[in-house]
Assembly symmetry: C2
Homo-oligomer: 370 residues x 2
């Protein structure tokens, strides 16, 4: 396959695979796509180790790193990371803490033993910048930002290192803003996607963004893409490639939590919900007692980013390993309905391509038969 | 173009156009697609006149009729149509009536002068059956049902008249149920569609339904389809054709209310909302003070189908012709963001096909360049 994006990176297939798991990233890059490591959950020191491992295991193929630098958030200009963390912790109302602890107790989740030190992670400029610094010391091909336009100086730094920059957008106006700060690739992500996502569906969003950013900007289709038919649809909409995430949660190599995996395999496409219960911004998740509780009458409502995630960050690993399991949820897109089988990541890549080719042949039969 | 559905109906393009306006239906059928008249707003006598006009104006091309027969609703087994209407009117709480009248007064909408006689329309078995009887006396090619599986005896009657039956489905389970009662064509309609719609996006839903109904059932892709790229995407997902609705609201021939038209032309893809404020079941609409008010803290909530629509039916035409205009809304899909121009219906058909062919050429360049 040959599109602007395969040419740009020298990859075989225009398939981008977002994953927090380095084994998945390496496997996809080695199979001819491009793995992109989600850096959010790593400290700069941890990220350094992950990228060192990747450098040694991608077999010389290109890979990328994905950070989360929100343009705006509560308390954004409050000193350094540690100071900021303290101040933000003080902004979380007692009512919300109590609601959370009651909910966890109700479901038998073990009490907290960890410090809340990692709770802020990469959600802020202060915490994401060190990740970018680490990433740019490695031979990465792509720096992606998952939330709005990255700061212009970060784009410049990346370009100085010969690294292309991608930004996720869920509407045409945001996509144009990203192009204005120098972003090279727009990931047009529809509402059916997992994690943070807007409300316009991929079918409508992709052509809208393709038209809005003009001919010089590469666009990848994201949201609802897990098979070759969906990949062909994304390309038919005008994209140069596809950005996928959810489907890598159920591959052999994935480190998906043990209690979440069977829920992902069993879920139908109707078992997700777009909720603010994770970070304060709408994100798509597997429905569970967790998403229901935060929408219930008892709920104190959601805190703005990054407070909501700070409140719950420490609870998530506890939910993943203890209690009755009803609270277990996971960020995933509507494509979860067709994730019913565990396969090696490379097989997922080859299946995508095989079905893609079949879809194109089918399309040609429709117009060619006359 | 040649698919199972163009062969079945002897049409040139696998484009189905749903419209309440006979001029649009005739124009699309004459241009090589298939117009489908929404019968909901017509009494049996009115429908008879519409179909007589269509018979004389489709130039011998096939056309269809779309009814709304819900499988289940409040008070479903309560005598004949008139008796039923009276009983149902009695089930509407005073609080809801008051909320509505206050809302209308606040926006300067003229008081009611009409009887509520037409309020039930085709939403029930009792009121939709006479429409079907009228429709089957005309040389229609297709009978579509917009809400769940049609009664099995209606499917049988249609088949006896040589009429194919289509049913809209927003999930795979419902699609299979429709196939079980003999429906010939499943319209797989994603959440981005206008009017009644589910929560799974077209990108995910279409392949899911194609796989669920098996090879013998024809599937049309619906929701978010307004351009040739989107049509190509729908076909890439495995559909045999596309079902469109919103895009016919802004054609020359459409009888879209004068106050709604500029709002449709100006709206972006983010200006719709899926709300129960129309019929009690989720339906996508243009956002307005109307959709906001029903979601506000003051709102008494939504009544179940068909009560919500009975409550508001009489208010809709008053909103369309009087008051400050802020309440004006209209059922429309997210594709409204690209409906920025008024064109003849035939031109819309030809533009769809021209862009469709371009999209296929582009796809072939991607795989063919190696």
């Amino acid at each position: 396959m040959r599109t602007r994006v395969t040419e740009l990176f020298g990859i075989e297939y225009p398939i981008f695979a977002f994953s927090h798991c380095r084994d998945v990233v390496a496997a996809v890059s080695r199979a001819g796509g491009m793995g992109v490591l989600g850096a959010l959950h790593f400290s700069p020191e941890e990220l350094e180790l992950e990228l060192k491992w990747l450098d040694e295991n991608v077999g010389g193929k290109p890979y990328g790193v994905d950070t989360v630098m929100p343009a705006k958030y509560e308390g954004g200009d409050l000193g350094d990371a540690e100071e900021l963390l303290g101040k933000l912790q003080g902004m979380i109302p007692e009512e919300n803490r109590r609601f959370l602890e009651d909910l966890l107790a109700e479901h038998g989740v073990e009490p907290s033993t960890e410090s809340a030190g990692k709770a802020l992670l990469g959600w802020t400029d202060q915490t994401a910048r060190p990740q970018v610094e680490v990433a740019l010391r490695h031979p990465i091909a792509l720096l992606a930002n998952a939330l709005g336009p990255p700061p212009a100086d970060i784009v410049e730094q990346a370009h100085e290192h010969g690294v292309k920059v991608a930004g996720l957008a869920s509407n045409a106006r945001h996509a144009r803003k990203q192009v204005d700060v120098g972003v090279d690739i727009i990931v047009a992500q529809g509402t059916e996607a997992g994690g943070h996502t807007g409300d316009v569906a991929t079918m409508v969003l992709v052509p809208e963004i393709v038209d809005a950013v003009g001919e010089d900007t590469i666009v990848l289709a994201a949201g609802g893409i897990g098979s070759g038919r969906q990949m062909a649809a994304g390309m038919a909409l005008g994209a140069d490639g596809v950005w996928t995430g959810s489907i890598w949660l159920t591959v052999d190599e994935a480190d998906t939590p043990e209690r979440a995996l069977p829920k992902l395999l069993e879920a139908t496409s109707r078992d997700t919900v777009r909720s603010r219960a994770w970070t304060g911004k709408p994100a798509r998740f597997l429905k569970s007692a967790w998403t229901e509780a935060w929408e219930s009458e008892k709920s104190p409502g959601y805190l703005p980013m990054p407070l909501q995630f700070m409140l719950i960050a420490d609870a998530l690993p506890r939910i993943a390993r203890s209690g009755d399991g009803e609270l277990v949820t996971f960020p995933v897109g509507q494509i979860v309905g067709s994730m019913n089988q565990i396969k090696p990541a490379a097989q997922v890549v080859y299946d995508l391509i095989e079905e893609y080719v079949e879809a194109i042949e089918r399309l040609n039969a429709i117009t060619g038969a006359d």
